[in-house]
């Protein structure tokens, strides 16, 4: 009798163990985040937004198509070597998408994710020509890339100058790194088209001392200063611009130089500073009520809740939303709940987020509509301009989403992607 009972128990345990994988099915979205080190303040906000949205989907909707999302977090400290280690240590967990939040890490992971068939989404950073899906099968950078950002900034300046920038002087102050150098070629091409003169002024990492650069700007007295900075470089630049009385409404940063962290240390002097953005600002969207209810009030927020609604929190949330939508698309396409990296790639290539969908997600008009395709991994390439109101202590959108200059950017993307394909013996795939 005893033996029979033991046998039954073993059988039951066996059935349970066999049934486990199905019951425990999860979609794994590893988070290569950085909450420590010199760029920690920015990395924390993005990571909180990313994690909170995934928690919301798990808590409110029961996951994607009923499958919960697992988001193992690995600290990169914005260090490329650590980022690669994080990738290697998490890729075996059934990982479906990587968002490394670092151009350096992105460059290192491009060959790795391609060979491992795991898609990587470098949203608004990374290698710009990855927008060419024929060459970069597993890399995506929608909804906008650096060259879109540069072009949209110039378009905004054109709008301010009745379509004429001839004879204007524009200075680009940039982080002296692969990231900071990304817009130079585009701005040079656009200067030929629009007749402005471009001066490039590099700032060495981390950018705590910029006296020479701002003395140079003061001497040259350009009409506009465009900034490609990150971390402490932004805060110092905005402060120095205020010190030399450079008009803040003529100082425009890329979207990585447009967070609350960048402007607050300069106080009132930062009033009027502008930055590009590819998503909405603030927390006046219905989704934040759900975040409050299902995430923050439930004690499941990734941080202390202070960051909710900040620029970088919203960006993290947006990145997570796009990943979730891509996973849902992939599930429908392949009629399966559990996904592989290749299937997730298909979901990302067929991602469509229109106005109605944004509204349904509680994010009405938060971002432009997105249509990704096999050939176009870069999305619509639209961006808006936001401006800092120091009195109210918040960013305000001052333009609609503006289309970038495809006439200039598309040939640059094609040229750079072709060069990459040649260097790496890649035969561009056919896209129907």
């Amino acid at each position: 009798m005893k033996l029979k009972k033991i046998g039954l128990a073993l059988l039951a345990a066996g059935v349970l163990v066999t049934a486990m994988p199905a019951a425990m099915a999860e979609l794994t979205f590893p988070m290569l985040s950085y909450r420590t080190g010199p760029y920690g303040p920015n990395g924390t906000e993005f990571a909180d937004g990313y994690a909170d949205y995934l928690t919301l989907v798990n808590e409110r909707d029961g996951g994607v198509g009923g499958v919960k999302i697992k988001a193992p977090e690995c600290e990169t400290a914005y260090n490329t070597e650590k980022g690669v280690e994080c990738y290697e240590s998490t890729k075996g967990q059934g990982s479906l998408i990587y968002q490394p939040l670092s151009t350096g890490i992105t460059y290192q992971l491009i060959p790795k994710v391609t060979s491992d068939k795991i898609p990587m989404h470098s949203m608004g950073y990374g290698r710009t020509s990855a927008a060419d899906g024929k060459v970069f099968e597993y890399i995506f950078n929608y909804p906008a890339n650096y060259w879109d950002g540069a072009s949209v900034i110039i378009k905004h300046l054109l709008d301010e100058n009745k379509g004429d920038l001839k004879g204007k002087k524009i200075a680009l102050i940039y982080h002296n790194s692969a990231y900071g150098k990304e817009p130079i070629r585009t701005l040079e091409e656009l200067s030929k088209k629009h007749g402005y003169t471009l001066k490039t002024i590099p700032v060495e990492h981390p950018g705590q001392e910029q006296k020479s650069q701002w003395l140079e700007i003061r001497r040259d007295n350009p009409d506009y200063v465009v900034m490609w900075g990150w971390g402490v470089m932004n805060q110092v630049a905005i402060k120095e611009a205020g010190n030399i009385n450079f008009p803040m409404d003529k100082f425009i940063g890329i979207w990585w130089a447009g967070s609350e962290n960048d402007v607050r240390p300069a106080g009132e002097a930062a009033n009027g500073y502008k930055a590009a953005t590819f998503h909405g600002v603030g927390s006046d969207y219905p989704v934040f009520k759900d975040i409050q209810k299902y995430v923050k009030d439930a004690g499941k927020a990734a941080g202390d809740g202070k960051n909710i609604g900040t620029v970088l929190y919203n960006r993290g949330l947006y990145a997570a939303m796009l990943a979730v939508e891509a996973a849902a698309t992939a599930q429908k396409m392949h009629n399966t709940k559990e996904l592989t990296g290749a299937q997730m790639r298909d979901g990302m290539e067929n991602l469509k987020v229109d106005k109605a969908r944004l509204e349904a997600l509680g994010l009405p008009n938060f971002a432009p509509e997105i249509n990704v395709s096999c050939a176009n991994h870069g999305g619509p390439g639209l961006a808006a301009i936001q401006q800092w109101d120091a009195k109210e202590g918040k960013w305000k959108l001052i333009t609609d989403f503006i289309a970038s200059d495809r006439e200039v950017i598309d040939p640059l993307i094609a040229e750079d992607a072709a060069a990459f394909a040649k260097e790496n013996n890649i035969t561009p795939r056919e896209c129907k």
């Binding site: 010199p38 303040p41 700032v203 060495e204 020479s212 007295n221 240390p265 106080g267 002097a269």
Partner: protein, 333 residues
């Protein structure tokens, strides 16, 4: 005068001011190295920690709030409107003294008679510990440093010098940040105070005795442990001053610890054991790197300041390995 010449003068002036800022960081290194032979890798992090603590007191932040909240489900944030700046500075100094005391009790006394490289590695560990501890205690967000110091271009200097250039040259006048002038004033007061302290006080003389010869100082009854606490406390004070000045420029955030990188060439050039050396070294590095960037930088792509400071320091190293004002290295067989 030609605008070009005035521009060079402006670059030199701003180089001197930048040099003072570097010296403020270098002073902390010198104090500890002079008294204990330890190259304190954690000096930059000490400046960060002191600045974080000061802002925490000023804004009434509850220390370890997010750790407590996560552990007990509380919603602690601030305990009130915060303290007046002067009181916050005094309390921060108290925290730095407490830090020095604990460091001596828990770490340094166990390291007596260890090789310099072991002590150096200890300070590397200390730097990482303090960075994490500061994060836990005050959070990682960027904070605004406001101790009431004025900043922005000096309108007086600008208006006075605007007329120096030839008419029609559109010269706007010389630029200097008022905050830098304050930093220069603070550095001068700091150096004079430290010199007077070491020359004319009993404790100061004891510090010099320990710096000269540990063994001899011990034999005349000077407590090495007390001296270490005093030295690390003074270095903590210097770190607080550096943290205030640099934090006022960039906000208080974790990259503040990287200001130590700007102090290294100053130390190599000025010498690790000389307080005046830290000042003169800072001035030479500041002016040298700014002039190089002005005249040569543009031809070679710019952003030369970080590496040129080290090249300049290495150049001096070839002729005076102990630095301009460092103690002469005498090896006897």
């Amino acid at each position: 005068m030609s605008p070009d010449l005035l521009n060079v003068l402006e670059v030199i002036l701003n180089g001197l001011m930048a040099g003072i800022m570097y010296s403020l960081v270098a002073l902390g290194f010198v104090l500890i190295y002079k008294a204990s032979g330890i190259f304190n890798y954690a000096q930059g992090v000490m400046a960060l920690f002191a600045a974080l603590t000061l802002v925490g007191f000023q804004t009434g932040q509850v220390p370890f709030a997010h750790v407590i909240n996560a552990a007990f489900g509380t919603k602690l944030d601030t305990w009130g409107p915060g303290l007046p700046t002067f009181l916050a500075i005094i309390l921060t100094m108290g925290v730095m003294v407490l830090f020095a005391y604990l460091l001596e009790r828990l770490v340094l006394r166990h390291m007596v008679n260890q090789a310099p490289i072991i002590l150096f590695m200890t300070t590397i560990g200390l730097a990482y510990f303090m960075e994490g501890f500061g994060d836990l205690m005050w959070g990682a967000d960027v904070k605004t440093m406001d101790v009431g110091l004025p900043s922005g271009g000096s309108t007086w200097l600008e208006s006075v010098t605007a007329g120096w250039a030839a008419e029609g040259s559109n010269y706007r006048g010389m630029y200097i940040d008022v905050l830098d002038l304050w930093a220069a004033g603070v550095a001068i007061v700091l150096v004079i105070s430290l010199t007077l302290f070491s020359q004319y006080t009993k404790t100061g003389r004891a510090l010099r005795a320990v710096a000269d010869d540990h063994q001899a100082a011990l034999t005349v009854g000077i407590s090495l442990r007390t001296i270490w606490i005093i030295v690390w406390s003074i270095a903590g004070f210097v770190a607080l001053v550096a943290g205030i000045m640099w934090g006022a420029k960039s906000g208080v955030q974790f990259s503040l610890s990287l200001i130590a990188l700007k102090a290294l060439p100053v130390l190599i050039l000025g010498g690790f054991t000389s307080i005046p050396g830290a000042i003169v070294g800072g001035l030479i590095i500041g002016v040298g790197e700014k002039l190089f960037e002005y005249f040569i930088g543009g031809m070679i792509g710019g952003a030369t300041e970080n590496w040129f400071a080290y090249v300049l320091a290495l150049f001096f190293l070839m002729f005076r390995p102990q630095g301009l004002f460092g103690d002469r290295i005498i090896e006897r067989v």
